[in-house]
Symmetry: C2
Subunit: 232 residues, 2 copies
Protein backbone atom coordinates (compact mmCIF):
# COMPACT_ATOMS: atom_id res chain seq x y z
CA UNK A 1 0.00 0.00 0.00
CA UNK A 2 1.36 3.38 -1.01
CA UNK A 3 1.38 5.82 1.87
CA UNK A 4 1.64 9.56 1.44
CA UNK A 5 1.58 10.57 5.07
CA UNK A 6 2.31 9.21 8.48
CA UNK A 7 -0.28 7.89 10.85
CA UNK A 8 -0.98 10.50 13.52
CA UNK A 9 -1.19 9.30 17.12
CA UNK A 10 -2.31 11.21 20.18
CA UNK A 11 0.07 10.15 22.93
CA UNK A 12 -0.09 10.94 26.63
CA UNK A 13 2.77 13.33 27.56
CA UNK A 14 4.13 14.73 30.80
CA UNK A 15 5.09 18.27 31.72
CA UNK A 16 8.03 17.53 29.45
CA UNK A 17 6.32 16.90 26.11
CA UNK A 18 8.97 14.32 25.26
CA UNK A 19 8.09 12.21 28.28
CA UNK A 20 5.62 9.52 27.14
CA UNK A 21 4.53 6.99 29.71
CA UNK A 22 1.04 5.64 28.96
CA UNK A 23 0.94 1.81 29.13
CA UNK A 24 -1.72 1.79 26.42
CA UNK A 25 -0.03 4.30 24.11
CA UNK A 26 3.18 2.29 24.31
CA UNK A 27 1.37 -0.86 23.16
CA UNK A 28 0.34 1.13 20.08
CA UNK A 29 3.80 2.62 19.51
CA UNK A 30 5.37 -0.83 19.48
CA UNK A 31 2.61 -2.20 17.24
CA UNK A 32 3.11 0.62 14.70
CA UNK A 33 6.88 0.08 14.74
CA UNK A 34 6.44 -3.69 14.31
CA UNK A 35 4.33 -3.06 11.22
CA UNK A 36 6.97 -0.64 9.94
CA UNK A 37 4.52 2.25 9.86
CA UNK A 38 5.81 5.80 10.35
CA UNK A 39 3.98 7.74 13.03
CA UNK A 40 3.72 11.37 14.02
CA UNK A 41 2.86 11.58 17.71
CA UNK A 42 1.00 14.52 19.18
CA UNK A 43 1.64 15.12 22.87
CA UNK A 44 -1.65 15.08 24.75
CA UNK A 45 -2.58 15.77 28.36
CA UNK A 46 -5.37 14.26 30.46
CA UNK A 47 -7.34 17.50 30.52
CA UNK A 48 -7.27 18.01 26.74
CA UNK A 49 -10.38 15.96 26.11
CA UNK A 50 -11.64 18.54 23.60
CA UNK A 51 -8.67 17.79 21.38
CA UNK A 52 -10.01 14.22 21.00
CA UNK A 53 -13.56 15.32 20.23
CA UNK A 54 -13.17 14.11 16.63
CA UNK A 55 -12.84 10.56 17.98
CA UNK A 56 -16.08 10.65 19.95
CA UNK A 57 -14.38 9.89 23.27
CA UNK A 58 -11.73 11.33 25.55
CA UNK A 59 -8.86 8.89 26.06
CA UNK A 60 -5.62 8.02 24.30
CA UNK A 61 -4.28 6.33 22.28
CA UNK A 62 -6.18 7.61 19.26
CA UNK A 63 -4.81 7.27 15.75
CA UNK A 64 -5.74 9.06 12.55
CA UNK A 65 -4.79 7.15 9.45
CA UNK A 66 -5.93 9.38 6.61
CA UNK A 67 -9.69 9.50 7.11
CA UNK A 68 -9.74 6.60 9.54
CA UNK A 69 -9.97 7.35 13.25
CA UNK A 70 -9.40 4.49 15.71
CA UNK A 71 -9.18 4.61 19.50
CA UNK A 72 -8.46 2.06 22.23
CA UNK A 73 -5.14 0.21 22.07
CA UNK A 74 -6.71 -3.17 21.36
CA UNK A 75 -8.92 -1.82 18.57
CA UNK A 76 -5.91 -0.03 17.07
CA UNK A 77 -3.92 -3.28 17.06
CA UNK A 78 -6.78 -5.05 15.30
CA UNK A 79 -7.06 -2.19 12.79
CA UNK A 80 -3.35 -2.29 12.01
CA UNK A 81 -3.35 -6.07 11.60
CA UNK A 82 -6.39 -5.97 9.32
CA UNK A 83 -5.20 -2.99 7.27
CA UNK A 84 -1.50 -3.63 6.80
CA UNK A 85 0.62 -6.55 5.75
CA UNK A 86 4.12 -6.91 7.15
CA UNK A 87 5.05 -8.73 10.35
CA UNK A 88 2.03 -10.19 12.11
CA UNK A 89 0.72 -8.81 15.38
CA UNK A 90 -1.68 -11.70 15.99
CA UNK A 91 -1.08 -14.28 13.27
CA UNK A 92 -4.64 -15.44 12.61
CA UNK A 93 -7.89 -15.71 14.52
CA UNK A 94 -6.81 -18.02 17.37
CA UNK A 95 -3.62 -15.98 17.83
CA UNK A 96 -5.77 -12.88 18.17
CA UNK A 97 -8.24 -14.57 20.50
CA UNK A 98 -5.45 -15.88 22.73
CA UNK A 99 -3.71 -12.47 22.76
CA UNK A 100 -6.91 -11.09 24.25
CA UNK A 101 -6.20 -13.14 27.33
CA UNK A 102 -2.74 -11.59 27.63
CA UNK A 103 -4.38 -8.18 27.18
CA UNK A 104 -6.98 -8.90 29.85
CA UNK A 105 -4.31 -10.18 32.25
CA UNK A 106 -2.17 -7.08 31.65
CA UNK A 107 -5.14 -4.70 32.06
CA UNK A 108 -6.14 -6.25 35.37
CA UNK A 109 -3.16 -7.85 37.13
CA UNK A 110 -0.33 -5.82 35.62
CA UNK A 111 -1.84 -2.31 35.37
CA UNK A 112 -3.59 -2.73 38.71
CA UNK A 113 -0.43 -4.04 40.34
CA UNK A 114 1.95 -1.42 38.94
CA UNK A 115 -0.34 1.51 39.74
CA UNK A 116 0.17 0.95 43.46
CA UNK A 117 3.92 1.40 43.04
CA UNK A 118 4.06 4.53 40.91
CA UNK A 119 0.82 6.51 41.06
CA UNK A 120 2.26 9.17 43.39
CA UNK A 121 5.44 9.38 41.30
CA UNK A 122 3.37 10.06 38.20
CA UNK A 123 1.98 13.18 39.82
CA UNK A 124 5.49 14.68 39.67
CA UNK A 125 5.97 14.09 35.95
CA UNK A 126 2.57 14.91 34.50
CA UNK A 127 1.71 18.37 33.25
CA UNK A 128 0.90 20.83 36.07
CA UNK A 129 -2.49 21.47 34.43
CA UNK A 130 -3.31 17.75 34.80
CA UNK A 131 -2.43 17.43 38.46
CA UNK A 132 -5.71 18.36 40.13
CA UNK A 133 -7.66 16.09 37.80
CA UNK A 134 -5.17 13.25 38.17
CA UNK A 135 -5.12 13.39 41.96
CA UNK A 136 -8.88 13.59 42.40
CA UNK A 137 -9.77 10.93 39.82
CA UNK A 138 -7.15 8.44 41.06
CA UNK A 139 -7.86 9.06 44.73
CA UNK A 140 -11.53 8.42 44.05
CA UNK A 141 -10.65 5.19 42.24
CA UNK A 142 -8.41 3.91 45.06
CA UNK A 143 -10.39 5.40 47.94
CA UNK A 144 -7.08 6.66 49.37
CA UNK A 145 -4.64 9.50 48.87
CA UNK A 146 -1.97 8.87 46.23
CA UNK A 147 0.59 8.93 49.01
CA UNK A 148 -1.27 6.21 50.93
CA UNK A 149 -1.67 4.05 47.81
CA UNK A 150 2.05 4.10 47.15
CA UNK A 151 3.17 3.78 50.78
CA UNK A 152 5.12 0.68 51.80
CA UNK A 153 5.89 -0.30 48.24
CA UNK A 154 9.22 -1.92 49.09
CA UNK A 155 7.40 -4.49 51.21
CA UNK A 156 4.95 -5.27 48.40
CA UNK A 157 7.62 -5.81 45.79
CA UNK A 158 8.04 -9.57 46.30
CA UNK A 159 4.33 -10.25 45.88
CA UNK A 160 4.20 -8.11 42.75
CA UNK A 161 7.15 -9.89 41.21
CA UNK A 162 5.49 -13.23 41.96
CA UNK A 163 2.42 -12.09 40.04
CA UNK A 164 4.59 -12.07 36.89
CA UNK A 165 5.15 -15.83 37.16
CA UNK A 166 3.01 -16.62 34.07
CA UNK A 167 5.30 -14.42 31.94
CA UNK A 168 8.37 -16.03 33.47
CA UNK A 169 7.07 -19.54 32.78
CA UNK A 170 6.42 -18.70 29.12
CA UNK A 171 9.88 -17.17 28.70
CA UNK A 172 11.43 -20.42 29.91
CA UNK A 173 10.04 -22.05 26.79
CA UNK A 174 10.26 -19.39 24.10
CA UNK A 175 12.22 -16.22 23.39
CA UNK A 176 9.21 -13.96 22.90
CA UNK A 177 5.64 -14.08 24.15
CA UNK A 178 4.84 -14.33 20.43
CA UNK A 179 7.05 -17.44 20.11
CA UNK A 180 10.05 -17.30 17.78
CA UNK A 181 9.27 -13.67 16.91
CA UNK A 182 7.71 -10.77 18.83
CA UNK A 183 3.95 -10.36 18.56
CA UNK A 184 1.37 -8.03 20.02
CA UNK A 185 1.50 -10.14 23.20
CA UNK A 186 5.04 -8.84 23.73
CA UNK A 187 3.90 -5.27 23.13
CA UNK A 188 1.01 -5.58 25.58
CA UNK A 189 3.29 -6.58 28.44
CA UNK A 190 6.34 -4.51 27.44
CA UNK A 191 4.15 -1.49 26.68
CA UNK A 192 2.69 -1.77 30.16
CA UNK A 193 6.20 -1.97 31.65
CA UNK A 194 7.13 1.26 29.82
CA UNK A 195 4.74 2.98 32.20
CA UNK A 196 6.93 2.50 35.32
CA UNK A 197 10.12 2.71 33.25
CA UNK A 198 9.32 6.17 31.90
CA UNK A 199 6.97 7.55 34.54
CA UNK A 200 8.88 6.68 37.72
CA UNK A 201 12.38 5.97 38.97
CA UNK A 202 11.27 3.02 41.07
CA UNK A 203 12.85 -0.27 39.93
CA UNK A 204 10.02 -2.78 39.77
CA UNK A 205 12.01 -5.71 38.42
CA UNK A 206 15.28 -7.21 39.56
CA UNK A 207 18.05 -6.99 36.97
CA UNK A 208 18.36 -10.78 36.79
CA UNK A 209 14.62 -11.42 36.44
CA UNK A 210 14.01 -13.19 33.11
CA UNK A 211 11.12 -10.76 32.62
CA UNK A 212 13.57 -7.83 32.83
CA UNK A 213 15.99 -9.57 30.46
CA UNK A 214 13.19 -10.09 27.93
CA UNK A 215 11.94 -6.50 28.46
CA UNK A 216 15.38 -5.16 27.56
CA UNK A 217 15.26 -7.23 24.36
CA UNK A 218 11.94 -5.61 23.46
CA UNK A 219 13.40 -2.16 24.21
CA UNK A 220 16.16 -2.80 21.68
CA UNK A 221 13.74 -3.55 18.85
CA UNK A 222 12.95 -1.04 16.09
CA UNK A 223 16.15 0.92 16.48
CA UNK A 224 15.91 1.03 20.24
CA UNK A 225 12.48 2.66 20.28
CA UNK A 226 11.89 1.75 23.91
CA UNK A 227 15.50 2.02 25.02
CA UNK A 228 15.90 5.61 23.88
CA UNK A 229 12.54 6.83 25.19
CA UNK A 230 12.85 9.67 27.66
CA UNK A 231 12.56 8.64 31.33
CA UNK A 232 11.45 10.52 34.43
CA UNK B 1 -4.82 -40.42 8.10
CA UNK B 2 -6.27 -43.90 8.39
CA UNK B 3 -6.39 -45.07 11.97
CA UNK B 4 -6.74 -48.67 13.00
CA UNK B 5 -6.78 -48.25 16.74
CA UNK B 6 -7.60 -45.73 19.39
CA UNK B 7 -5.06 -43.59 21.12
CA UNK B 8 -4.41 -44.98 24.60
CA UNK B 9 -4.28 -42.49 27.45
CA UNK B 10 -3.22 -43.06 31.05
CA UNK B 11 -5.66 -41.04 33.13
CA UNK B 12 -5.57 -40.34 36.85
CA UNK B 13 -8.45 -42.19 38.57
CA UNK B 14 -9.88 -42.26 42.06
CA UNK B 15 -10.88 -45.17 44.27
CA UNK B 16 -13.77 -45.38 41.83
CA UNK B 17 -12.00 -46.09 38.54
CA UNK B 18 -14.61 -44.03 36.71
CA UNK B 19 -13.80 -40.91 38.71
CA UNK B 20 -11.29 -38.87 36.67
CA UNK B 21 -10.24 -35.54 38.08
CA UNK B 22 -6.73 -34.57 36.94
CA UNK B 23 -6.63 -30.97 35.63
CA UNK B 24 -3.93 -31.97 33.16
CA UNK B 25 -5.57 -35.20 31.96
CA UNK B 26 -8.77 -33.28 31.32
CA UNK B 27 -6.95 -30.82 29.08
CA UNK B 28 -5.85 -33.81 27.03
CA UNK B 29 -9.30 -35.43 27.01
CA UNK B 30 -10.86 -32.26 25.62
CA UNK B 31 -8.06 -31.85 23.07
CA UNK B 32 -8.51 -35.42 21.82
CA UNK B 33 -12.28 -34.94 21.56
CA UNK B 34 -11.83 -31.63 19.72
CA UNK B 35 -9.66 -33.40 17.15
CA UNK B 36 -12.28 -36.11 16.84
CA UNK B 37 -9.83 -38.81 17.94
CA UNK B 38 -11.13 -41.88 19.74
CA UNK B 39 -9.35 -42.66 22.97
CA UNK B 40 -9.13 -45.61 25.31
CA UNK B 41 -8.34 -44.40 28.81
CA UNK B 42 -6.52 -46.52 31.33
CA UNK B 43 -7.23 -45.65 34.96
CA UNK B 44 -3.98 -44.88 36.73
CA UNK B 45 -3.13 -44.12 40.37
CA UNK B 46 -0.38 -41.90 41.77
CA UNK B 47 1.59 -44.85 43.11
CA UNK B 48 1.59 -46.78 39.82
CA UNK B 49 4.72 -45.12 38.50
CA UNK B 50 6.02 -48.45 37.21
CA UNK B 51 3.10 -48.63 34.80
CA UNK B 52 4.45 -45.49 33.11
CA UNK B 53 8.02 -46.77 32.88
CA UNK B 54 7.71 -47.05 29.10
CA UNK B 55 7.37 -43.24 28.96
CA UNK B 56 10.57 -42.55 30.88
CA UNK B 57 8.78 -40.58 33.62
CA UNK B 58 6.10 -41.05 36.24
CA UNK B 59 3.21 -38.65 35.71
CA UNK B 60 0.02 -38.53 33.68
CA UNK B 61 -1.29 -37.75 31.15
CA UNK B 62 0.67 -40.06 28.89
CA UNK B 63 -0.63 -41.13 25.49
CA UNK B 64 0.37 -44.00 23.25
CA UNK B 65 -0.51 -43.44 19.61
CA UNK B 66 0.69 -46.57 17.88
CA UNK B 67 4.44 -46.48 18.44
CA UNK B 68 4.44 -42.86 19.59
CA UNK B 69 4.59 -42.13 23.30
CA UNK B 70 3.97 -38.55 24.46
CA UNK B 71 3.68 -37.22 28.01
CA UNK B 72 2.91 -33.81 29.53
CA UNK B 73 -0.40 -32.18 28.60
CA UNK B 74 1.19 -29.31 26.68
CA UNK B 75 3.44 -31.62 24.66
CA UNK B 76 0.47 -33.87 23.91
CA UNK B 77 -1.53 -30.89 22.61
CA UNK B 78 1.38 -29.92 20.35
CA UNK B 79 1.70 -33.51 19.16
CA UNK B 80 -2.00 -33.75 18.33
CA UNK B 81 -1.99 -30.41 16.49
CA UNK B 82 1.10 -31.36 14.48
CA UNK B 83 -0.05 -34.92 13.72
CA UNK B 84 -3.73 -34.52 12.95
CA UNK B 85 -5.83 -32.23 10.82
CA UNK B 86 -9.35 -31.38 11.91
CA UNK B 87 -10.35 -28.49 14.15
CA UNK B 88 -7.36 -26.45 15.27
CA UNK B 89 -6.13 -26.45 18.85
CA UNK B 90 -3.72 -23.53 18.34
CA UNK B 91 -4.26 -22.20 14.82
CA UNK B 92 -0.69 -21.37 13.85
CA UNK B 93 2.53 -20.38 15.56
CA UNK B 94 1.41 -17.15 17.30
CA UNK B 95 -1.80 -18.85 18.42
CA UNK B 96 0.33 -21.59 19.97
CA UNK B 97 2.77 -19.13 21.53
CA UNK B 98 -0.06 -17.07 23.03
CA UNK B 99 -1.81 -20.20 24.33
CA UNK B 100 1.36 -20.90 26.30
CA UNK B 101 0.58 -17.82 28.35
CA UNK B 102 -2.89 -19.17 29.15
CA UNK B 103 -1.25 -22.47 30.08
CA UNK B 104 1.30 -20.76 32.32
CA UNK B 105 -1.41 -18.67 33.98
CA UNK B 106 -3.54 -21.78 34.57
CA UNK B 107 -0.60 -23.80 35.93
CA UNK B 108 0.34 -21.10 38.43
CA UNK B 109 -2.67 -18.94 39.35
CA UNK B 110 -5.46 -21.42 38.69
CA UNK B 111 -3.98 -24.73 39.84
CA UNK B 112 -2.29 -23.05 42.81
CA UNK B 113 -5.47 -21.23 43.73
CA UNK B 114 -7.82 -24.20 43.41
CA UNK B 115 -5.55 -26.59 45.32
CA UNK B 116 -6.15 -24.66 48.54
CA UNK B 117 -9.90 -25.24 48.23
CA UNK B 118 -9.99 -28.95 47.47
CA UNK B 119 -6.77 -30.70 48.44
CA UNK B 120 -8.27 -32.25 51.57
CA UNK B 121 -11.40 -33.27 49.67
CA UNK B 122 -9.26 -35.09 47.13
CA UNK B 123 -7.91 -37.35 49.85
CA UNK B 124 -11.42 -38.79 50.21
CA UNK B 125 -11.83 -39.69 46.55
CA UNK B 126 -8.40 -40.98 45.60
CA UNK B 127 -7.52 -44.65 45.78
CA UNK B 128 -6.77 -45.84 49.34
CA UNK B 129 -3.36 -47.05 48.14
CA UNK B 130 -2.53 -43.47 47.09
CA UNK B 131 -3.49 -41.75 50.32
CA UNK B 132 -0.24 -41.95 52.29
CA UNK B 133 1.77 -40.74 49.30
CA UNK B 134 -0.73 -38.00 48.50
CA UNK B 135 -0.85 -36.67 52.05
CA UNK B 136 2.89 -36.66 52.61
CA UNK B 137 3.84 -35.20 49.22
CA UNK B 138 1.21 -32.43 49.37
CA UNK B 139 1.84 -31.59 52.99
CA UNK B 140 5.53 -31.25 52.19
CA UNK B 141 4.70 -28.95 49.26
CA UNK B 142 2.41 -26.71 51.33
CA UNK B 143 4.31 -26.97 54.60
CA UNK B 144 0.96 -27.60 56.34
CA UNK B 145 -1.47 -30.43 56.94
CA UNK B 146 -4.07 -30.89 54.20
CA UNK B 147 -6.70 -29.87 56.73
CA UNK B 148 -4.87 -26.61 57.48
CA UNK B 149 -4.40 -25.82 53.79
CA UNK B 150 -8.11 -26.14 53.10
CA UNK B 151 -9.29 -24.45 56.32
CA UNK B 152 -11.25 -21.21 56.03
CA UNK B 153 -11.95 -21.68 52.34
CA UNK B 154 -15.30 -19.88 52.44
CA UNK B 155 -13.51 -16.68 53.43
CA UNK B 156 -11.00 -17.02 50.59
CA UNK B 157 -13.63 -17.55 47.93
CA UNK B 158 -14.04 -13.89 46.94
CA UNK B 159 -10.32 -13.40 46.36
CA UNK B 160 -10.13 -16.58 44.29
CA UNK B 161 -13.06 -15.55 42.13
CA UNK B 162 -11.40 -12.16 41.57
CA UNK B 163 -8.30 -13.94 40.29
CA UNK B 164 -10.40 -15.18 37.37
CA UNK B 165 -10.95 -11.62 36.14
CA UNK B 166 -8.75 -12.06 33.04
CA UNK B 167 -10.99 -14.93 31.88
CA UNK B 168 -14.10 -12.88 32.59
CA UNK B 169 -12.77 -9.89 30.64
CA UNK B 170 -12.06 -12.06 27.60
CA UNK B 171 -15.51 -13.66 27.74
CA UNK B 172 -17.08 -10.19 27.57
CA UNK B 173 -15.61 -9.88 24.10
CA UNK B 174 -15.78 -13.39 22.63
CA UNK B 175 -17.75 -16.59 23.15
CA UNK B 176 -14.73 -18.85 23.64
CA UNK B 177 -11.19 -18.23 24.82
CA UNK B 178 -10.32 -19.42 21.31
CA UNK B 179 -12.51 -16.69 19.76
CA UNK B 180 -15.45 -17.74 17.61
CA UNK B 181 -14.67 -21.43 18.22
CA UNK B 182 -13.17 -23.35 21.14
CA UNK B 183 -9.40 -23.82 21.12
CA UNK B 184 -6.86 -25.39 23.42
CA UNK B 185 -7.05 -22.20 25.53
CA UNK B 186 -10.60 -23.23 26.46
CA UNK B 187 -9.46 -26.75 27.29
CA UNK B 188 -6.62 -25.50 29.49
CA UNK B 189 -8.96 -23.49 31.70
CA UNK B 190 -11.98 -25.80 31.53
CA UNK B 191 -9.78 -28.88 32.02
CA UNK B 192 -8.40 -27.27 35.15
CA UNK B 193 -11.93 -26.53 36.39
CA UNK B 194 -12.83 -30.21 35.93
CA UNK B 195 -10.50 -30.87 38.85
CA UNK B 196 -12.75 -29.24 41.49
CA UNK B 197 -15.89 -30.26 39.59
CA UNK B 198 -15.07 -33.97 39.69
CA UNK B 199 -12.78 -34.20 42.71
CA UNK B 200 -14.75 -32.19 45.27
CA UNK B 201 -18.27 -31.08 46.08
CA UNK B 202 -17.21 -27.54 46.91
CA UNK B 203 -18.75 -24.96 44.56
CA UNK B 204 -15.91 -22.68 43.50
CA UNK B 205 -17.87 -20.50 41.07
CA UNK B 206 -21.16 -18.69 41.48
CA UNK B 207 -23.89 -19.90 39.12
CA UNK B 208 -24.17 -16.46 37.50
CA UNK B 209 -20.43 -16.00 37.00
CA UNK B 210 -19.73 -15.66 33.25
CA UNK B 211 -16.85 -18.08 33.79
CA UNK B 212 -19.30 -20.71 35.07
CA UNK B 213 -21.67 -20.03 32.16
CA UNK B 214 -18.82 -20.51 29.69
CA UNK B 215 -17.60 -23.62 31.59
CA UNK B 216 -21.01 -25.21 31.20
CA UNK B 217 -20.83 -24.51 27.46
CA UNK B 218 -17.50 -26.35 27.33
CA UNK B 219 -18.99 -29.26 29.31
CA UNK B 220 -21.69 -29.66 26.68
CA UNK B 221 -19.20 -30.04 23.83
CA UNK B 222 -18.37 -33.40 22.26
CA UNK B 223 -21.58 -35.07 23.30
CA UNK B 224 -21.43 -33.74 26.84
CA UNK B 225 -18.00 -35.22 27.56
CA UNK B 226 -17.48 -32.96 30.56
CA UNK B 227 -21.09 -32.81 31.63
CA UNK B 228 -21.49 -36.55 31.96
CA UNK B 229 -18.16 -37.18 33.68
CA UNK B 230 -18.53 -38.84 37.07
CA UNK B 231 -18.32 -36.49 40.05
CA UNK B 232 -17.28 -36.99 43.65
Amino acid sequence: MLRCMSIVMYDLAGADPELRFSPYCWRTRFALAHKGLPVETIPWRFTETDALGFSGQGRVPVIKDGDQVVFDSWSIAEYLEDSYSGPALFGGAPGRAHARFVNAWADSVLVGGIARFIVRDLLDVIDPRDRAYFRSSREQRFGQTLEAVQAGREERLTAFRESLLPVRLVLRKQQWLGGAAPSYADFIVAGTLMWPRCGSRFALLAADDPVEVWFLRVLELYGGLGLTAKRA
